[in-house]
């Protein structure tokens, strides 16, 4: 009895696969001949996407797989529940999230979610790989979270190489990648293998969300302009200290890494460097090994000695920074538009109506220069993080499920949820409904998957998420940098190289962090810098640069 149903359903599946293959063939050839417009991303340029109610077949991209797919197969899906902890506290099962229910209705594919215990994702992933009991879809950052990277993960037999499957069953993703070669590069390996479906930030506007933040009301009181150069920053911090009584005029987070908040190049950038690796004209460089590092240390040492930097700078964490910025202890910091500007403005609205913040440009050394670095995410920030297990009995179905988010209709649904429930169209603009807006961070997780899913993120999501004028303005200010020319793309050293690289960098990072903080705090004299350079040399930093250079060259050749 059971056997016969299985046979029947597999027959249905087979015929389905055949039709979808046939359809895919049509649609993909369509897409390839279709006029390519690389600059316009479909999500942002799409003027009012086909309304929700439009049947899937009307949608131009849905040609590959006709959703909903008729199948009885239940796919399993493993993911780190960390991102959903807030939602899971309200709705304990992912299957019951309104978004996931609707997704199942639309794609026709039932999904069972498996969640590792909180904060044990990595251990449990290892257990899954060791035990051989894989889920069909595995959600994980294989670029940074798997030793040796995605190439090694495929070699080890833990995830599937997807090139053929994407060719056959993922017309939507394929079409998107054809139009966006830079995303394509970011989600394949040096050898050209696809290993997973990406989360894609569909607009430059979505990639910048952090930068320097200053107390606007203080600036106004003191009659100061928003500073653009290091000298102007110095004048401003001095004024904050002397006239505003700030005991820690400049504060920023130093956990888990020293100067964590400056990793994107704030202050370092004025001296043409970054704390980490970057590139000048295609040549890889390591910031602390460049002469600019000494100037950075000298300036910061001076600022610290004059009491302009938080006395506890080596131990400041998020909580302390929040307290500093809202208590008048500090007037300038680095933070995100959401977790900084939004959070503090909301918190201070009733306490101090005058309290105001402004996003400042990354400071430069000389007036008129363009900042060299700034926070900017990649279009596919986690690479292809929706992978499929080699043990999956229905890999093609899993591919079809994941591909949905790159169709026009699917991407719209991921961003804005179901019409009437999560959003309404106001003059063609998908506006989140009032009940959803009541608690955006919570409800966006329940009714949409507007961030982090396998889809193309829409600018209009962020316009509503960071809706305060100060936030909008800040994101624009922060975006004006040359970071694209200097930031390293997501390169991947080979497995052997990364072992060697990690060995060198572990010692180097300890050395750099220690030297940085001791010179700035004044524990060591400036002379320590010369000793530092000699030590850095002896730790073989040149080899590390060489490894990254080779990886970069391979990346460019992709």
């Amino acid at each position: 009895m059971q056997a016969s149903t299985r046979k029947a359903s597999s027959a249905i599946l087979l015929s389905l696969m055949l039709t979808s293959t046939a359809l895919t063939a049509c649609s993909s050839s369509n897409n390839e001949t279709g006029s390519p417009s690389p600059s316009a991303s479909p999500s942002s340029s799409a003027s009012a996407p086909a309304s929700e109610s439009a049947s899937p077949s009307d949608s131009p991209n849905a040609g590959g797989s006709v959703y909903p797919i008729k199948t009885d197969v239940m796919l399993t899906r493993w993911l780190d529940s960390g991102a959903f902890s807030q939602q899971l506290a309200v709705t304990p099962k992912l299957e019951d999230f309104p978004f996931n229910k609707e997704l199942e209705a639309r794609t026709g594919i039932k999904v069972k979610y498996e969640l590792p215990a909180v904060n044990q994702a990595k251990e449990q992933l290892n257990i899954m790989f060791a035990s051989g009991e894989y889920t069909d879809i595995i959600e994980w950052n294989f670029v940074t979270g798997y030793p040796g990277g995605p190439e090694k993960a495929m070699q080890d037999g833990n995830i599937l190489k997807l090139n053929d499957l994407i060719d056959k069953y993922a017309p939507n993703l394929k079409a998107y990648l054809a139009k966006h070669p830079e995303v394509d590069k970011q989600i394949k390996t040096d050898s050209g293998a696809y290993y997973g479906f990406p989360f894609i930030r569909g607009d430059d506007y979505l990639m910048t969300y952090g930068g320097p933040i200053i107390r606007k009301d203080w600036l106004d009181d003191l009659g100061l302009e928003v500073p653009t150069t290091m000298d102007e920053w110095y004048t401003m911090l001095k004024a904050f200290k002397e006239k505003k009584g700030a005991t820690a005029p400049l504060t920023f987070i130093s956990t888990p890494r020293l100067f964590d908040d400056l990793q994107q190049g704030l202050f370092y950038g004025a001296f043409g460097i970054k704390r980490d690796f970057y590139m000048d004209d295609g040549k890889v460089k390591f910031g602390p090994a460049e002469p600019g590092f000494k100037d950075f240390l000298t300036t910061m040492r001076k600022w610290y000695a004059e009491g302009l930097i938080d006395k506890d700078i080596a131990t400041v964490d998020g909580k302390i920074r929040d307290a500093n910025m809202t208590s008048g202890k500090s007037g300038a910091t680095y933070a995100l538009a959401g977790g900084g500007i939004g959070k503090w403005l909301t918190a201070m609205k009733d306490v101090d109506p005058k309290y105001d913040l402004v996003g400042a440009p990354y400071p430069v050394l000389n007036e008129g220069e363009v900042p060299k670095f700034g926070q900017k995410d990649f279009a596919a920030p986690q690479g292809g993080n929706f992978a499929i297990s080699p043990k999956s009995k229905n890999p093609e179905l899993a591919v079809q499920l994941l591909d949905y988010g790159y169709s026009e209709e699917g991407s719209f649904f991921f961003n804005f949820g179901k019409e009437g429930e999560a959003h309404t169209l106001v003059n063609g603009y998908p506006t989140y409904t009032d009940p959803v807006k009541e608690n955006l961070p919570l409800n966006l997780g329940l009714y949409t998957r507007a961030t982090g899913g396998p889809f193309v993120q829409d600018k209009r999501y962020y316009e509503q998420f960071a809706a305060l004028p100060q936030q909008q303005e800040a994101v624009k200010t922060w975006g004006q940098t040359d970071v694209d020319k200097h930031q390293l793309p997501p390169i991947s050293p080979t497995a052997e190289e990364s072992t060697e690289f990690a060995k060198i960098m572990n010692e180097v990072n300890t050395l750099v962090d220690e030297t940085t903080i001791k010179i700035i705090l004044g524990t060591d004299s400036m002379d320590a810098y010369d000793k530092f350079l000699t030590k850095l040399e002896s730790l073989n930093i040149d080899r590390a640069i060489e490894i990254y250079q080779a990886a970069l060259d391979r990346y460019n050749a992709r």
Partner: protein
């Protein structure tokens, strides 16, 4: 010639003894089996996993399948740029803790023993236990708050004319802060065993001492302390076996790069390395090294203790 015969006689004697004992105590042996199995499966079995210290372990290939690496992980560790520093720091922090934190609960137990009022005793005990039951991350948060500039300790220092700087940003202060917080956290909990040992001292001894004219101080020195000594020695030996295991959780929660010089210990160093490299084999090699040193120290302490006062674990 004679000795050979003797040995053979002994062997047959043993064989006979075992056979007899077996037939007599079959059931007892059977009852011992589960306990034996527990040790084999859960204590000795996993030891075989330590073999990854000599391999380039990868979970996909399994313990047996991973290629051999010889002593390269040990070499990496000993030749590491920071090996000397982390090793010295580990030993120093352990020794300071042993020196200052180990006697603290003994003193507390002796003091509590002298208190007459039951209510006050109970109160002191509850208050001193308390920090032990607070999560470590909270303890470290409190310590950081207290020692930051503007924190309670710094306010006291400043009011006495000292400089108001963050203690945990100065390498000179890390060890005192660490040891002091260790005492604060464990003194109450660890005193329990001493208090229990104290209650088992025969009251007649005190009576006799009093009749001989001993004051309280003399009683403590001549009756209480000798009565407590076996417990102290056992605790000391056990402690020696953990000398190199400085808890990395507490260190990584308290330290930062400005005080690596005194705060970075073997385990925190391995943690940083492991976090970046996912190098299980390297961690296993360091763990094995730690265990060997600890075992040596344990044996040494046991030997010394036996020589000095015939009191030992085995």
């Amino acid at each position: 010639m004679l000795s050979k015969l003797e040995k053979r006689a002994e062997r047959t004697h043993w064989g006979l003894f075992l056979r007899k004992d077996w037939s007599r105590n079959k059931l007892l042996y059977a009852m011992m089996l589960p306990a034996l199995a527990y040790y084999l499966v859960f204590q000795y079995g996993p030891m075989y996993g330590a073999v990854i210290a000599f391999k380039d372990y990868s979970p996909a290939e399994g313990i047996l399948g991973s290629p051999w690496a010889g002593l390269s992980h040990f070499k990496d560790f000993f030749e590491g740029f920071y090996f000397e520093r982390v090793f010295t720091n580990t030993v120093l922090i352990s020794v300071y803790t042993l020196l200052f934190e180990f006697p603290a609960p003994i003193v507390l137990a002796l003091l509590i023993n002298e208190v007459r009022s039951r209510a006050f005793r109970g109160f002191v005990q509850s208050v001193t236990y308390m920090p032990y039951f607070v999560s470590l991350i909270v303890i470290c948060g409190i310590v950081k708050d207290f020692t930051n500039s503007g924190g309670i300790i710094q306010q006291i220092v400043a009011s006495l004319g000292g400089a108001d700087t963050a203690l945990l940003q100065n390498p000179d202060y890390f060890r005192p802060v660490y040891v002091a917080s260790e005492i604060w956290q464990r003194i109450g909990w660890e005193s329990i065993i001493y208090i229990a040992a104290l209650s088992s001292i025969d009251t007649e001894q005190y009576e006799a001492a009093r009749i001989d004219g001993a004051g309280r101080w003399r009683q403590m020195r001549s009756v209480t302390l000798p009565g407590l000594l076996p417990t102290i020695m056992i605790m000391f030996i056990l402690r020696m076996g953990n000398l190199l295991n400085v808890g990395f959780e507490k260190i990584i929660l308290l330290y930062n790069s400005s005080i690596y010089e005194t705060a970075d210990v073997i385990s925190s160093y391995v943690y940083r390395k492991g976090l970046i490299e996912f190098d299980w084999s390297f961690s296993a090699a360091v763990g094995l090294f730690n265990s060997v040193i600890n075992l040596a120290l344990l044996v040494l302490a046991n030997y010394l203790s036996r020589r000095v006062n015939q009191n030992s674990l085995w």
